[in-house]
Subunit: 305 residues, 2 copies
């Protein structure tokens, strides 16, 4: 089943060279998420054949315009298209004020429930915990309050070894095997030992989305073993001073964090308008962390088991 | 010199078929104006090679998102690109609250003076009156307060008939001829009679921008003789009830107003997402008013003298 990230926009501040403001479409099995929503996100979703009506939740990292100015338009489109299904919005608390004002003056009452979940911007928090996955926030360091998001699947059940499976098992007994239990008879004696009939579970997958921020080495622990890390890489190392002055990171720093966190892959994004050619950013990162990739718009990155 | 309108977006409510939300770039000689600013306007300006830094003023008709949600992003881009020149914003009063909130939470103080001119949404008003042109508002009838804008050049001076012009004229005397005065000697006797040395002036040009609104026949007087009228044409006549219920107009109604106002040309826009093919809207209008055109994105319409 799917665990995929489609890049809708990965440029910083000023959109140039056909590159758009930040937004990503994350699909985890049947859950559809939007991470940030820069101006033009709804048009980018159309361009890449993604259906806004499928969205279950939207996550906004911080209140710089290049990360949320497409939100009011997207929410309006869902309304105009007749959505009735609830939508969850996880965002910095003041966004509620902004949206309320915009919808009030437009005399718009959304036809669907929009559940606004104000984020604690200063402390790590578990914001979603359901059967399928957890979503955690990690406070970042930017010019204004900003958080990253970590999406992690829950552990999968054991797989059944279908070749060996006895034909007389009941559904309840199969469920027990998947949970790692043995199948016993009425007296509690083992009829089928779990390890004889099961295989190791599929690996649970994870994705971390970190933008905009200074390089924060202490996050390596929280991110340990993450399958894919998206980390902002606004500048090259030669602009490291500029990066820290503007609370941004370099491609080299992003790679260092990926390496320290033993991440599977690193996606670089939030490119400065000063770089028309992004190849130098990629090369800088790969010197530190080989499995680095550019978050190019329209590309979909799959995380496998 | 230029008097031209470039269509950046002309779709209503939900952006579809690659069509964008409302925005137009109006150039009148050396003045550069933006009329409405739907989501993605700054990207559309880039696409069509228009420079946001040249803008002198932005006019917002009303506070439905498809007419202003690109504004905060555009204003930010001007800021990030280092603009220092003042920008004038003519808009419904509550837009000041929305922008203030957005810039406050983004911790952004614009580097250039943004002069906010709150519009009186209920009465016609003269909002600009300088040497070059006048801009008037016309209250429209929509679900929320909405105004149209009429841009009219001031009368041009008489042209000099260069073939007949005596070589001994001073600059002051030439200026007097252009104003329609005769050239006299010290005793007040006519040396050069104005009509012998001048030709009729260039025709002053005008443009009216009316969206979103019900069909308002009484506007024909205010618009009399306008060179070009942009009028919303959200629906075909077969949806006239739907049009009036949603405070919109049909292509036929737009054409009727153009005819009654004796306009030079009519531009149809603000197309409903229900129309993939816009040709029927054009045909409906042309049955009433031959000089009707579709406001297709990327097209520039020139108004000649």
């Amino acid at each position: 089943m799917a665990f995929s990230i489609t890049i809708l926009g990965s440029n910083s501040a000023v959109p140039v060279y056909g590159r758009h403001h930040t937004a990503q479409y994350l699909q985890v099995e049947n859950s559809h998420f939007l991470l940030d929503c820069g101006e033009g996100t709804q048009l980018q979703m159309q361009r890449y054949g993604l259906k806004p009506q499928k969205l279950n939740a939207i996550f906004i990292s911080h209140l710089h315009g290049d990360h949320y100015l497409g939100l009011a338009g997207l929410l309006s489109t869902l309304h105009l298209q007749g959505r009735s299904k609830a939508l969850h919005l996880y965002a910095p608390p003041p966004l509620a004020d902004i949206l309320t004002l915009q919808f009030r003056y437009a005399d718009t009452t959304l036809r669907y429930p929009l559940h606004f979940h104000p984020l604690d911007m200063r402390k790590p928090a578990l914001i979603i915990d359901n059967e399928q996955l957890t979503v955690r926030t990690l406070p970042l360091q930017h010019r204004i309050d900003c958080v990253g998001f970590v999406f992690a699947e829950k552990p999968y059940p054991l797989r059944l070894n279908k070749e060996k499976l006895p034909p007389d098992l009941s559904l309840a007994e199969i469920a027990a095997l998947k949970k790692g239990e043995d199948v016993t008879d009425a007296d509690g004696n083992i009829r089928y030992r779990n390890s004889d009939y099961t295989l190791p579970p599929k690996r649970a997958r994870s994705y971390a989305y970190l933008t905009d921020t200074l390089y924060l080495p202490h996050l390596a622990d929280s991110l340990h073993g993450v399958d894919m890390l998206y980390h902002e890489a606004t500048f090259l190392t030669e602009k490291e001073l500029k990066a820290s002055q503007t609370y941004h990171a370099t491609a080299g720093q992003a790679a260092l964090l990926a390496k320290e966190a033993a991440a599977g892959k690193l996606l670089l994004g939030h490119f400065s308008a000063r770089y028309k050619d992004l190849q130098p950013l990629l090369e800088e990162a790969r010197k530190v962390f080989e499995e680095s990739y550019l978050a190019i718009e329209g590309e979909t990155f799959h995380i496998t088991h």
